[in-house]
């Protein structure tokens, strides 16, 4: 089970307009693995996550997520993929509870899953009936995470998830990701905040110029590039 490949990218080129944000990128992520994606701004980290989520089309190369060829159909995988980008994708005028319930049900989860996720992220008491527009950036991120947790995806794609979260939030996040990986999910985390993410990840890859520049295997030293 552990060695099953969930994400498999071979020579993937993805264009933003006419710019090749990913230039022949190769990457494999197995089930149960947490992979940290490092790299300077503009290296292609966000595009990599968005390609894996089926949001950005693959121009050439071979891209498979959960066995589905993304060039043939990039919509089939979406319910199995959880993506948390810089924007949290929440309706500002709805309450936290409304948001979590709506997105959980929209992704095929149940209302009970939504409620459980809110309890887990400590959103069920004070914040539940506050509209999202009133929340701080960190609180919004928590809500976004709750949506993901309710969805229980097989692939987690997180763009700078530690940003804006407080210490407690980061602890919860790390724990959630570890559990997800232990349950067989593949987790891809793009982060600047290496300290925290390094500890979490089984492996880290370094992106530059739209391709994987170097790979650090488990047990690597504490020298951080970037």
């Amino acid at each position: 089970m552990v060695s099953e490949t969930v994400i498999s990218l071979r020579g993937v080129v993805a264009l933003l307009g006419r710019f090749p944000a990913l230039a022949r990128l190769d990457l494999d992520v197995d089930a149960g693995e947490i992979v940290l994606v490092r790299g300077p701004n503009g290296a292609g980290k966000s595009t990599l996550l968005r390609v894996c989520a089926g949001l950005v089309p693959v121009d050439s190369g071979n891209a498979r997520v959960l066995g589905h060829d993304l060039r043939a159909d990039r919509r089939v995988i979406r319910r199995s993929v959880g993506y948390l980008g810089h924007d949290t994708g929440l309706y500002a005028d709805l309450t936290v509870r409304d948001n979590v319930r709506f997105w959980a049900r929209a992704t095929g989860a149940s209302g009970a899953d939504a409620d459980a996720a809110m309890v887990r992220l400590d959103l069920d008491t004070r914040l539940a009936d506050i509209i999202v527009a009133r929340l701080s950036a960190g609180q919004r991120r928590r809500v976004g995470l709750a949506v993901l947790l309710a969805q229980r995806p097989k692939v987690w794609l997180l763009d700078e998830p530690h940003a804006a979260l407080d210490e407690n939030g980061r602890d919860v996040l790390d724990e959630v990701l570890r559990q997800a990986a232990a349950g067989g999910a593949a987790v891809l985390v793009a982060s600047h905040d290496h300290g925290r993410a390094e500890q979490l990840a089984h492996r880290s890859v370094s992106l530059a110029g739209g391709h994987v520049h170097s790979v650090r295997e488990p047990g690597g030293t504490g020298v951080f590039g970037g």
């Binding site: 264009l15 006419r18 090749p20 230039a23 022949r24 121009d59 739209g210 391709h211």
Partner: protein, 267 residues
């Protein structure tokens, strides 16, 4: 990007340029033939329409306006028909080639639609006593068509990815084209169901003089030739614009990968 510039088989947009042609413009042997034919035709049309053809029994000399109005209106609908076809073909084949055909034809169509409206209004002033007649379903429909395709061109001008722009504008064209019969019928029923409107259509008297009919036919042919000439040139302008934006993907990928060198990324 890989197959966007491939052409559908058998789609003829004039002769390809050969090395013998002037490389500085969008002309080619094909366009020259159409250009010369158009100029000869225009000479004929002027001679026939303004000189040789007789006055109409009911319309008098105003019938001479018909020789530019009817062909303009015909080309307005032909151009948007081509835009609709190009849009459908784009959605089907996903070839940018078809999108550029649709775009070129829409711009020329707006031109002819404007001309049809203006000449229709100039004809209407002495005929109806007013520039505009709401009872004329064709005129009103043409105006709505004109406005919808101004919207189409506005959508095309929004900066976006080539694919995004093409798909978006193809759908806008379809929405508009589907609406045309609805507009036409609604305007028609609107007036006829309402009152005994003296609906003056721009139809000809059935007992039309032979020379008048011939002149009208010449007008239709000449305007169509002009349309083809416009299309060839407009398409090539659109093509060149795409080329200017485009650059070699292979080079771009190499340049992108080279960014990794010297960024300080650890090995």
């Amino acid at each position: 990007m890989t197959d966007t510039t491939t052409n559908p088989p058998g789609a003829g947009m004039g002769a390809p340029t050969r090395s013998g042609d002037d490389p500085r413009n969008t002309a080619s042997k094909g366009t020259r033939v159409f250009g010369i034919l158009s100029l000869i035709g225009i000479g004929w049309l002027v001679a026939l329409g303004l000189g040789l053809s007789p006055d109409d029994q009911t319309q008098g000399d105003l019938v001479r306006l018909m020789y530019v109005h009817v062909p303009s209106a015909w080309l307005a609908y032909l151009s948007f028909g081509v835009t609709a076809m190009g849009s459908i073909m784009y959605l089907w084949k996903r070839s940018e080639w078809w999108d550029l055909v649709a775009a070129s034809s829409a711009e020329i169509g707006v031109l002819f639609t404007g001309l049809a409206l203006v000449t229709g209004m100039i004809w209407g002033r002495p005929t109806w006593g007013s520039y505009w007649e709401w009872g004329d379903a064709r005129l009103v429909t043409t105006l709505v068509l004109f406005l919808m395709f101004l919207g189409y061109l506005a959508v095309r001008r929004i900066p976006a990815d080539t694919h995004v722009r093409s798909r978006r504008s193809a759908i806008v064209a379809l929405i508009a084209v589907v609406d045309i019969p609805l507009v036409h019928f609604s305007v028609k029923w609107w007036r006829t169901l309402h009152q005994e409107a003296t609906v003056l259509s721009s139809d000809f008297d059935p007992k039309i003089d032979d020379l008048m009919l011939f002149t009208l036919m010449v007008g239709l042919v000449v305007f169509t030739l002009v349309y083809v000439w416009f299309m060839l040139h407009r398409f090539r302008v659109a093509w060149l614009e795409e080329q200017l934006l485009d650059h070699s993907l292979a080079d771009a990928i190499e340049a992108r990968r080279a960014e990794a060198v010297g960024t300080g990324a650890t090995t």
